[in-house]
Amino acid sequence: MIALALAFGLLWMAATSTAFLSRYRNQSPDENIYHEVDTFWNGRWTTTREPVKIASLNSLLEGVFRLLPLQVLLAAVLAGMNYLSFYYPTRSIYVMKRLRSRWELHRRCLAFPVFWILVCVAVCVILGSIYCHMYFHNTVPGRIPDGVSLNIWRTLAW
């Protein structure tokens, strides 16, 4: 059941991350959109055209990977259940304690949960890299806000 929940969670995480795509598309980043700005200079008003800046990278990526902590929690629960399986319904822990390698028990309990967390993090890194690449390379020059930065923790925000 936990394994199914993990797989479903990974698919859901990938799906919700596409929220970036719809937000980004709404900004029409590949179109030259200008707005007129009136400025008073040298005693007279002049009108200039400036490109409309799209939303910051942080705001577009906000919360797209918010299911990652849930995946980590589910993996931790799976690890706990793995350890518990050596105590119930039988006490196979008695056998594990007679093995020469003290790490065999931990390897059996933690290998998959750790692997799963790494997979989820890798998916987030790959998708995040793709989204950042799109942001910087698909957006019309001049429409990217000044001083753009990335706050990774905002991608996990609810």
Binding site: P89, T90, R91, S92, I93, Y94, V95, K97, R98, L99, R100, S101, R102, E104
Partner: protein, 244 residues
């Protein structure tokens, strides 16, 4: 040789499970450990196997029992320590991988003797079959000292008798069996030595041969040791009769 020196165990810092146990046993002995429920039999075995913390000293050939030498001890328990989702064949693979002295031939022979299916998960077997699997795993690990805690629970009388004969036949001269059971009469012909434990203390440690030389039986010896009054039932029944 396994040596226990002043081994003490308390549960929750209050309940004395073992009080100053001094015991030693060498290779090739078959030892019966007897005692009433709660006497400390299982606790004693678990302390030797390092499954419970204790005070005092337990040595195996002069060395503390650690992961380096723990494989020389095996344990079959009525709590069951097999892997329920694994088949017998998978158990054999696991044991062969982790216990270099795993006895493959003995394992296959015992599984065949008890007519146990090799390719079904052990959790799908009956309780009696699961008990047989537990004992087989303990006997085939390749240990020098085999600890069996109430191994005959769930075995019918025919299986038990066959098992006693089998045990005497398969064991090598250097293998030691430390066996706790309530079936004193049945194992009398099997064991070399009887150790009696009561309220965490060893109250008797005798060779079966010595009891027989005195013209007594193990059951009589244990009754005498426990101060068992054979007329207590008739006395109680007489009291019930008189009050009604």
């Amino acid at each position: 040789m396994v040596e226990l020196k002043n081994v003490r165990k308390k549960y929750n810092g209050q309940v004395d499970a073992l009080t100053g146990i001094d015991l030693s046993f060498g290779q090739g002995e078959i030892i019966g450990l007897f005692g009433e429920n709660g006497a400390g039999k299982t606790t004693l075995m678990k302390c030797i196997l390092g499954l419970l913390g204790y005070k005092g000293e337990i040595l195996l050939d002069g060395e503390p029992i650690t992961r380096k030498n723990i494989a020389r001890l095996s344990f079959g328990t009525c709590e069951h320590s097999f892997f329920p989702k694994m088949t017998l064949a998978e158990h054999a693979e696991f044991y062969a991988k982790h216990f270099p002295k795993f006895r493959q031939t003995r394992y296959q022979g015992l599984a065949e003797f008890f007519e146990l299916p090799l390719n079904r998960p052990v959790r799908t077997l009956s309780t009696g079959q699961q008990n047989q699997v537990e004992v087989i795993l303990a006997l085939c690990q390749g240990a020098d000292y085999i600890f069996l805690d109430e191994p005959f629970v769930g075995h019918d009388i025919f299986n038990r008798e066959d098992f006693y004969k089998l045990l005497l036949g398969v064991l090598e001269p250097t293998e030691t069996v430390f066996l706790s059971t309530h079936l004193i009469e049945e194992v009398e012909g099997l064991i070399d030595r009887a150790v009696m434990i009561r309220k965490g203390t060893i109250i008797g440690d005798v060779k079966v041969e010595e009891i027989e030389e005195q013209g007594s039986t193990l059951v009589e010896y244990v009754k005498q040791l426990y101060g068992y009054k054979s007329d207590r039932v008739s006395q109680s029944l007489a009291k019930f009769g008189s009050t009604e």
